[in-house]
């Protein structure tokens, strides 16, 4: 299967290359010309009275994120749902959903197939992991230039939800070729979750430094030395996320491109701080504070079960950890209580939280050549107004229909905003001003306060002193690289990751710590230096 996919991708790239070349000869100035045409056509062709097209226009739509969590209410389906109805009624746009699939490789393949058969829909979504595909589409001249359309047609609300600062990093040569689903990167930040009912039982104060955290881990282990251990550490593809709090304690930020003192980008994996973190990991493992099976290929499942079985009391997770998996701990042990803390460091310097510079959850591309390209922006206006306008509405419970909307815009840091207003409402007891989306959460929290433990997790996130409130107190460090993978990355990154993984595993399992220096040497020689150069070239080109 893997091989098939690679072959396929190669074929695709070749085809796109041809498309790109032929297009290039037709219109040498790909970037400057097309912007004039859509504006003209929109004013001449559309006889729109107000905002509605009459006669209705047609737009085909391929949506690649109808995941398992989308549940259609009765009477609705992929082709006929809240969004197709609303868009037709309000805007006179007949939205024809020609393709709906869950997010994943198959959708990407399918879109590639549609390009080949010349059957690409007018509007389609692309996963944020497929930025290569997007860049190919842009180079091939398939993606409509939306810069001026957005400027002209986007409603004030949309412009407020998608400010220039957020769109700027996503532009190519200053032009906007897709509409992103923006997410505030802060909402992906990790925090330290600690089991506070155990703290209380053992009479330990809340931690201030990472030494305190290690002491807590030791105390938790001492509660039942044969069964318990300190930190939950799943490898989860060696993502390091499950241990990000430990790395941050030593000011190490693996798997990220960081800005050094001279303003150059450096790879987080080879920094000397990582060595200290690995040394600490080695010690922790020796003391039995990390599961013995950890490096033997536990993808996180086993560690999670240990967590749920009450063997671990420290978990590094995101703000939604209480809903999953901590809620499961609560389900099995109603006594369990958890609390979120910022990362703590081993020295006086504050531990930083890593965040991406840009965080997308997907994007919309409009195929060049639609008679009314501004319709896309109008639909975006409608979506924004539906969820966040004067008279905001929410999707039917648990339906996640927003995933089928022909556009996506949400307040910057939506969940953080939600938490703040819910907290306020809980304190004042006045829920009348809440957004319908907030109202749902508010009701859950009220339910929890009345004794329903099912919503314990939600309450810990959005309730008073909820985890989302913690983000404002974080100090951040940015992962500065967000471009498409560079040439050398495509050929050598996998090998470099392997190198890191090997060094990591052997050091954690007791190898000489100086092995790290050998690793750094190898990393640099086997392509790391080239990649660093490419990444820095990219970084400078953006300024």
């Amino acid at each position: 299967m893997k091989k098939l996919t690679t072959n396929l991708l190669l074929t695709m790239m070749f085809m796109l290359l041809i498309a790109a070349c032929s297009n290039g000869t037709d219109k040498p100035s790909n970037t400057s010309k097309p912007q004039a045409t859509p504006n003209n056509s929109s004013t001449t062709e559309s006889s729109s009275s107000g905002d509605k097209y009459d006669p209705p226009i047609k737009m085909t739509f391929a949506v690649g994120r109808v995941d398992a969590d989308v549940v259609f209410p009765d009477g609705q389906s992929t082709k006929d749902n809240q969004w197709t109805r609303l868009v037709e009624e309000k805007l006179g746009i007949k939205l024809d959903v020609t393709l709906a699939m869950p997010k994943g490789q198959e959708f990407t393949q399918k879109v590639n197939a549609l390009i080949v058969t010349n059957d690409l829909p007018d509007l389609f979504t692309v996963s944020e992991e497929e930025m290569i595909q997007v860049d190919q589409l842009i180079q091939a001249g398939i993606a409509e230039d939306l810069t001026d359309l957005f400027e002209e047609y986007a409603s004030p609300l949309v412009k407020q939800l998608m400010p220039d600062e957020a769109l700027e990093p996503l532009k190519r040569n200053g032009r906007l070729y897709f509409l992103p689903n923006l997410q505030r990167p802060a909402e992906e930040g990790f925090m330290t979750w600690i089991r506070t009912d155990w703290l209380k039982k053992l009479n330990i104060p809340e931690p201030k430094t990472f030494q305190d955290v290690i002491a807590i881990a030791e105390a938790f282990k001492a509660m039942n030395p044969t069964k318990n251990y300190g930190f939950q550490a799943g490898t989860e593809s060696w993502d390091m996320y499950s241990l990000s709090g430990l790395f941050a304690a030593y000011h190490a930020y693996p798997n990220a491109w960081l800005k050094d003192a001279n303003g150059n980008l450096v790879n987080g994996n080879i920094q000397p701080e990582v060595k200290a973190a690995l040394q600490s990991l080695q010690n922790l493992k020796k003391e039995g504070l990390i599961s013995n099976e950890w490096t033997l290929g536990d993808d996180g499942e086993k560690a999670r079960q240990d967590l749920i079985n009450g063997r671990v009391g420290i978990h590094f997770g995101q703000w939604w950890a209480p809903e999953w998996p901590l809620q499961l701990v609560k389900d099995n042990d109603p006594e369990a209580e958890w609390k979120a803390f910022k990362f703590m460091s081993v020295d006086g310097q504050p531990a930083l939280h890593l965040q991406n510079t840009v965080s997308l959850t997907g994007l919309y591309v409009l195929k060049k050549g639609h008679s009314n390209p501004e319709a896309l922006i109008k639909m975006l206006n409608l979506v924004a107004d539906f969820y966040w306008g004067e008279n905001p509405q929410a999707d039917p419970d648990n339906s996640n229909l927003w995933k089928l909307a022909p556009g996506d815009a949400q307040p910057w840091g939506k969940n953080i905003v939600f938490m703040q207003s819910i907290e306020k409402a809980l304190k004042s007891g006045d829920a009348s001003k809440l957004h319908p989306g907030e109202q749902v959460l508010y009701n859950m929290i009220e339910d929890y306060n009345n004794g329903n433990d099912e919503f314990w997790g939600v309450s810990l996130e959005y309730g008073i002193d909820g985890s989302l409130g913690l983000y404002d107190s974080f100090q951040w460090i940015n992962n500065e690289f967000f471009g498409t993978p560079t040439v050398t990355m495509n050929t050598k990154q996998a090998n470099l990751n392997k190198l890191f993984e090997d060094a990591f595993i052997s050091i954690v399992n007791g190898a000489d710590i100086n092995k790290f220096d050998t690793f750094v040497e190898q990393w640099k020689k086997q392509g790391g230096d080239d990649i660093t150069k490419e990444v820095n070239d990219w970084y400078k080109s953006r300024k």
Binding site: E106, Q109, N309
Partner: protein
């Protein structure tokens, strides 16, 4: 059998029984495990302590699955696909195997046709060309895209033509003498004589159609048209690093509904489990007979 009672043979019999029991268990236990999970409560499953017996017994996940319209729709599509696909497969297999089982003397271009079919076992056009063909034939997003591309099961054709060759020539010749044509010979003599093979191939065909998921994902445009296994694929995703990063908490939560997943896996496998024993008695016989040619 019972007559020889040397110690050696007894040990062999006992060892054989133990060995076969173990093999049976390796097949049965996973099913038991899935069944146990599907009948347990969510919280109990999350601890990972469920082995072969449900904890906090509940039918909740089955109720939920059966109330989900998507599961039943997909099940319906799969049933439709199996019925249609198996009929088409078997018709074509029989009609292809018969002429190819003749000798070159009576069917001159036989070798050319035979190689023409066999070629497709070793070489295929690949995904995109396949898609393009299906697209231009105009059957994208219809049930035909699921049954027509695999209509000619060459492997089955080879099995059946070998089986046909095992049927005594005299039967065919005497039928000829009595004035029967090729169709009468095929349907009145060859088919009844090769029922075991037909049953086997039918089973192959059923299982293939029941289990295939990738074509559904590629050739169907909306989830409402997915056959069961394509739908299953969308709910049983491997949560890797890439996936975790982009996924929302709702999605991660819903994909971690182990009990729900297990219930669907079990219900999805149930029809095949039920059909199997009835066709199985032909199964062994069919393959062996087909491979030993006269």
């Amino acid at each position: 059998m019972v007559a020889d009672k040397t110690i050696g043979s007894r040990i062999f019999v006992i060892a054989n029984y133990i060995f076969l029991t173990l093999i049976t268990l390796t097949c049965l236990l996973p099913i038991c495990h899935v069944l146990a999970i599907s009948l347990s409560s969510k919280a109990a499953v999350a601890t990972g302590n469920i082995k072969f017996w449900p904890v906090d017994f509940t039918f909740a996940s089955y109720q939920l699955v059966l109330s989900k319209s998507q599961f039943l729709t997909s099940m319906g599509i799969t049933v439709k696909r199996v019925v249609l696909g198996v009929l088409i497969n078997m018709l074509i297999v029989v009609l292809t195997a018969y002429p190819l089982s003749k000798e070159v003397r009576s069917f001159r271009p036989r070798s050319i046709f035979a190689w023409f079919f066999v070629f497709t076992i070793f070489f295929s056009g690949g995904l995109i060309p396949g898609y393009i063909i299906i697209y231009y034939v105009g059957i994208i997003d219809t049930i035909w895209a699921l049954v027509l591309p695999g209509a000619v099961q060459v492997f089955s054709v080879v099995l059946l033509l070998n089986f046909f060759r095992g049927i005594p020539r005299e039967l065919e010749e005497s039928a000829f003498m009595d004035g029967a044509g090729h169709f009468s010979i095929l349907f009145k003599i060859f088919l009844p004589a090769s029922l075991p093979a037909i049953a086997t191939l039918t089973l192959f065909s059923i299982v293939t159609h029941w289990n295939s998921w990738f074509d559904g994902l590629i050739y169907m445009n909306t989830p409402e048209n997915y056959p069961l296994q394509s739908y299953m694929q969308t709910i049983i995703v491997k949560m890797d690093q890439q996936f975790m990063r982009g996924a929302s908490k709702d999605l991660i939560k819903s994909l971690n509904e182990q009990t729900l997943k297990s219930a669907q896996v079990f219900l999805g496998a149930l029809p095949i489990l039920v059909v199997y024993p009835f066709l199985q008695k032909y199964f062994v016989k069919g393959i062996v007979l087909g491979s030993v040619k006269g």
